[in-house]
């Protein structure tokens, strides 16, 4: 079990590092998919089955495909640029900021004794039945608001990306 954690963490971190480092955009998206798979595997390891399946369904099935479509529609894939063309201006300040934040996070984790806690109850497992019941009884208002939000996002994305065609006509 511990070995599973280390292997999956290695896969996830490698996927994330490659996703922000590679020059060819399609390769970046493929390593992002590896990252999503690693996170989904972590969810399964943490006994949250439903969330793991939802992660695969939504992120790999929808968000990755969306990013690939956006890459196709903006024609900007090539992998032959050098580091000067890939990094934005003042990239060192971005790295410094991220480094400082990393140090702060490290300090916050190891400040108290919480970091040594072990898992509390290893037998219980979440069930989809309870999640469904909770979504319909206690959490029904956020659920409906989420439905409205997703509809608004759908219509908004279509309107934003459609503008040029309508104006040309």
């Amino acid at each position: 079990m511990n070995a599973a954690f280390w292997i999956l963490s290695a896969i996830t971190v490698i996927g994330a590092v490659l996703a922000v480092t590679l020059r060819n955009l399609v390769h970046c998206v493929l390593s992002l998919i590896l990252f999503f798979l690693g996170i989904a595997a972590h969810y399964f390891l943490l006994r949250a089955d439903f969330i793991g399946a939802v992660q695969i369904l939504i992120y790999i099935g929808a968000v990755a495909v969306l990013i690939l479509f956006a890459i196709m529609l903006t024609h900007n894939v090539t992998g032959t640029e050098g580091p000067r063309e890939v990094l934005g201006g003042k990239w060192w300040s971005g790295l410094a900021t991220a480094g400082i934040l990393g140090v702060v996070i490290w300090w916050a984790i190891y400040k108290d004794q919480i970091a040594a806690a072990l898992p509390s109850n290893q037998k219980a497992q979440s069930s989809v039945l309870e999640i469904g019941r909770a979504l319909m009884s206690e959490w029904v208002v956020p659920f409906e608001i989420m439905a409205v939000l997703l509809t608004a996002a759908l219509i908004g994305a279509v309107v934003i990306a459609l503008e040029e065609v309508m104006r040309r006509r």
Binding site: V17, V20, T74, G88, G94, G102, W106, I114, S120, L135
Partner: protein, 103 residues
């Protein structure tokens, strides 16, 4: 499984910092959106980690995660639609060139 909580927190912190590096460093707007997705996932992983380690019986963390994943997906859809619209106008997805607010 006997992984201390700190290891999971370090993992999600590391993923967050990697995403932040990518978002602040790269020039291509789509890679910035990819890095934002990485940051989102790192944060959501924290919720499930704390659910597993502390409050196994309560479902609040899973509800929060479902809603957070949905919102992340909606946000990435809108972000990518914006990138496509900007590409049509500026003919490039370089964040350094998008400097004026005039349409």
């Amino acid at each position: 499984m006997s992984i201390p909580l700190g290891h999971y927190l370090v993992l999600s912190g590391l993923l967050f910092v990697i995403g932040l590096c990518g978002a602040l460093t790269r020039k291509n707007a789509i890679i910035v959106l990819i890095a934002i997705e990485i940051m989102f996932n790192a944060g959501i992983l924290n919720l499930i980690v704390f659910w597993h380690y502390k409050e196994f019986a309560v479902l609040t963390a899973q509800m929060f995660t479902i809603f957070a994943i949905s919102i992340a997906a909606a946000e990435s859809a809108i972000g990518l639609a914006l990138v496509i619209a900007i590409y049509r106008h500026y003919k490039s997805v370089d964040v350094d060139e998008m400097q004026s607010l005039k349409g």
